[in-house]
Symmetry: D2
Subunit: 359 residues, 4 copies
């Protein structure tokens, strides 16, 4: 029964691709480093970080003690580059990479919106290279898998949009709901990033819940863009309100819309019929699970899974969909790895197979 001592799961073959991360210093960047370090077919070759240049990754982030790389000031060569810079700064760095032909996955918002005027309206700056917006692919594999495979520039979705779009796409696509949609999202604090602020100071955020960005959150246009594509272009009226809850990881989105009359038939309950629509839509998806009980964000902790629970409020004939993700994995770094796997022909779940950690 004893085996010879060859190999652990981290056996890296000779055929690994070379990977670089721009701006490893935030939570998306550091999570990317962790996931790539554990990826069978990818090798982390360099990382950059503005204020940390010269320091070792493992000194800045002690949980990554096994990553022996020093942090560089400038990008190097690679088969694929992830940019985890903030918007605007990211486009500035990504543009020359794309022009050099390096396949790039941008975690920022710079290439998510197809309409550069919308970009300017929400982000307050003129887009550096609007001509790239049509070429860039919105990196939500469940909606754009084929395009991602051949993409040279992938715009990795925002965390809230990932949860909201996956919660609503089947209903919008199948035309079972009316165009008035409410998305009420609850996020852990890591979604606000590593930059210090009073709002994310432990003593002020602990034991408290709040809504924010009531005048409009920048993730709204992404949600509308992608859902309107699913609706065949017909216009949707979406209100999206994000909330901060006292936990580190996780987003739960609760989505509300009235059912279209006549679309849901007798015999089965409305909830059963809606559930069938969702199960069919996500049948082949490796990371979306249509569940039959209200989920907790904890059931996705540390994993790339998205749990979706569609149901119906019978009294009011409203669809209610609850979705859960880990905002730093499926909502950021894990989805970026999923996109990389698609772009390079690796099995889609390579490096993403870890089950959630509970409790």
């Amino acid at each position: 029964m004893h085996l010879s001592g060859e190999s652990g799961y981290k056996k890296k073959t000779m055929r690994q691709i070379k990977v670089g991360i721009i701006n490893v210093s935030g939570y998306a960047g550091v999570e990317l480093a962790r996931l790539i370090h554990q990826h069978e077919y990818a090798e982390l070759c360099w990382v950059t970080g503005r204020s940390m240049a010269g320091r070792k990754v493992g000194d800045m982030f002690p949980h990554l003690f096994d990553i022996k790389l020093a942090i560089d000031a400038e990008p190097g060569d690679a088969d694929v580059v992830f940019s985890a810079l903030p918007h605007k700064a990211s486009a500035e760095v990504v543009l020359p990479l794309v022009r050099r032909g390096i396949r790039t996955i941008d975690i920022s918002a710079d290439f998510r919106l197809k309409n550069s005027e919308e970009y300017t309206k929400w982000y307050g700056v003129t887009h550096l290279c609007p001509e790239l917006l049509q070429e860039a692919v919105y990196g939500l594999p469940e909606l754009h898998r084929a395009q991602i495979k051949s993409a040279h520039l992938v715009a990795n979705p925002g965390c809230y949009p990932t949860s909201a779009i996956l919660a609503l796409a089947p209903a919008v696509k199948e035309g079972i709901i009316q165009p008035d949609i409410i998305v009420d999202s609850k996020s852990g604090v890591s979604g606000a990033g590593r930059s210090l602020s009073v709002a994310t100071h432990y003593s002020e955020e602990n034991e408290s819940v709040s809504a924010y960005a009531l005048a409009g959150h920048r993730h709204l246009p992404e949600i509308v863009q992608e859902l309107e594509t699913q609706s065949g272009g017909s216009s949707l009226s979406v209100t999206f309100i994000p909330h901060l809850v006292p936990m580190t990881r996780g987003i739960l989105s609760t989505c509300y819309a009235s059912l279209v009359d006549g679309r849901v038939k007798d015999g089965k309950t409305m909830a059963e019929q809606v559930r069938q629509v969702y199960s069919d839509f996500y049948r082949e998806e490796p990371f979306v699970r249509v569940v039959d009980a209200s989920p907790k964000t904890k059931y996705t902790w540390g994993s790339n899974f998205c749990l979706v629970y569609p149901t119906v409020d019978d009294r009011t004939r409203r669809l209610v969909v609850v979705s859960c993700i880990d905002n730093l994995v499926k909502g950021a770094a894990g989805q970026a790895i999923q996109n990389m796997n698609l772009m390079f022909g690796f099995p889609e779940d390579t490096g993403l197979n870890s089950l959630p950690i509970f409790p």
Copy 2:
């Protein structure tokens, strides 16, 4: 400058009323004990607790070490009795008290609904004394102050209804919104009470958010009953989804409804006009504050205040109202004291003047 040493704020006059608490063993009961102990015009004379009879209050709840009472098995005599029993059990104990002429404030759900069939539908039991339902007053002072003053039986509102009704009453009353209403509430875990369950086990609830009771929560009919009264009896279509968030105290409700066309005029922004409606409605209220920035539940921690923030999503012409309370104070024991103050002619804020504790 030195003062003579008379008195602390707890100086209790000779004119104190005698108070009893039935079932001190849950969080509402224990919070009542704390508040009455600090009340200038009330004296806590006895408490009951099913499984704790014979023990000292301060032994069961070490933070109440100053309360020297032993826990009784049966109620005694009093000017006013609070029942903190669960529904059904509460009606059984309250009924003989009311018949003896003792003024009673029931924290349970037994006397909140005016319609006994609704009660049976939601609570699964036949009401013990439906004839008392019309006599009982729904104890939300902001809507029923005059009736509370002369009431013999007050039904203290549920925690979620308190936050939802205060968030929506002005809009419904003034007719500025359409009848389709979404209430998305986020509650701290103490709302689930002191009974043990896997859902409230620390390791399972920490670092997690979930929606629950999607098939219908018992607080829904209260919300509908009270809002329909404000709407002059016209029917409302309300979806209410409660969520559990990892904190002990606090409820934040986010409420959504479309504005009625033509009701909100030009000149001012829609948000300004809506805010005026709310400020007017709550102008004289001692415990409701219409605030001009999105509030946190932490700003109400330990206090009887309700913060209400009405605003408008201009893109979709939807009213969005955020309200915050401490679920154990304004959502339970504090509101019960407020009702007692009204019933006995004390200043309404007696014993409830503590500012929130922050951070």
Copy 3:
């Protein structure tokens, strides 16, 4: 039974003293504002705050919406002034006040140490006015009540020292322990103040425990100074290690020392005899409770109480004492109010009678 509507507990008499707070912008300052606002014999007349000058207190700290004061740039006149500035800055502001004869309570560390060389060693600056060090009274009422009453300058103790000294003073004073003492303290994050840092960033502090300041924490010399006074001047060897735990308020200190042979006699258990020493020591104290079961910090939340639980590890004949406080109340602002009460002849518990809030 109805009472005339006069007065709530906040009835403020004409004989109130005028109070000023220097630097209301940190957690000690804001907690002072809350407590003074609720104090029967004191009126908050002005507050200063470096970066917030011109803003309203209630705008900066929404839980203080009832305090209508604007924040000033410079101190005004007062009967008593609290300084909540950091060390060094505090001495600079306090010195002219003391020279003008204004009674002052300094929350900073500037006047706690009697030895100016120790001050320089631990704080890295030369003391501005070492001549005031002997005049200043260390404001721990349980040890220095008489001196506090007539003091003009009170040095309010640090949060850790309050918990450690109260845990150990009876044993040291009675000579029942050997001079080798370990103090292992666990603090909520508010003790680190309101200044932003990675260590107090929510996502990094949540779900984590750490020890810090292992090379020596500035609160150590306070602990040693006060305990050596209790020991009659004989030298103690104290190791003090503070820890940060993921909660907002509370300090629990676990203190260890070997019992002196022969001092604890037969008949009673060692634990019983030790407990008697502690009960005798704190018999008259309004805010220290010697409890007979291991306490939780939660049992002191929001209150000025200190719970002390002394016991003995029989196998090793070691005294183990656990103490709990709310670091912002008994560990800072509440103790400062207690000192003010003593200085002005008010009942010692005026404004501090609130029971802990649980859960």
Copy 4:
């Protein structure tokens, strides 16, 4: 650059061993299931669970949706069995397995103590099969690797002992400390298991720290047994006080002992010399990291690593060692897998290579 689509890291070879878990229903059991599911050379063949028999693992624990096994009432056949039952119940089930020649790893305390009288004293029951105590190997690989490799029955260490023994073994073994030792441990709540109790009820445990088991915790004799073995049999006087802190996972132990005079030489600082002792001791260890800054439990979250930080309080010549583990991984299920790897000749880190998840 594209690779053929073969395999992810979960490629399971034909040479997998068959694994069974007795009592999957607690946190150690469920964590074992997660780790074995991801193990390259092991296949989870059956699990038992007293109250859950007949249910699917993924229904009881939604994060394990990929494990399709139903929960059995009785153990089946296997190459290795893990028992995650409580003490006493575990011995009853383990005994027949061991007699049948099945290699067994017992997570309970039943086979940890070599002395059956000590077992009876601490656990209050007579040991079922004291003759197995000498045969059983204490499964701390850092101390007993060679014996574990050939063991048929491994007693997996307790969570606190793992952190305390790894923190102190080098100092005890090298004789650099005196025999008076304090271990002050802080644990996340998952260490208290999945059984419901008021102490682990969310609202009571959140925002609170407490010490417990001051009369003696059952993990003490393990700590003493193993450290006395390292000391060559000389007697140690250990006080161990566990604390509960409001987080789910993680143990941080702070250990104190006076340095032996003369053992630590000049030239280097005492801290440097102590650090050298620790680095030498753990030089080859795959899961113990001697770190040079005070660690946080968060740096081990979800991983099998133990971080050890030894330093010296120069003023008192005391050694202070801080150690961190994830109590459910290195403190329970991960260490059990590490033992299995050793027993079956797999690379020691197989299935345990995941980096900690941060933040």
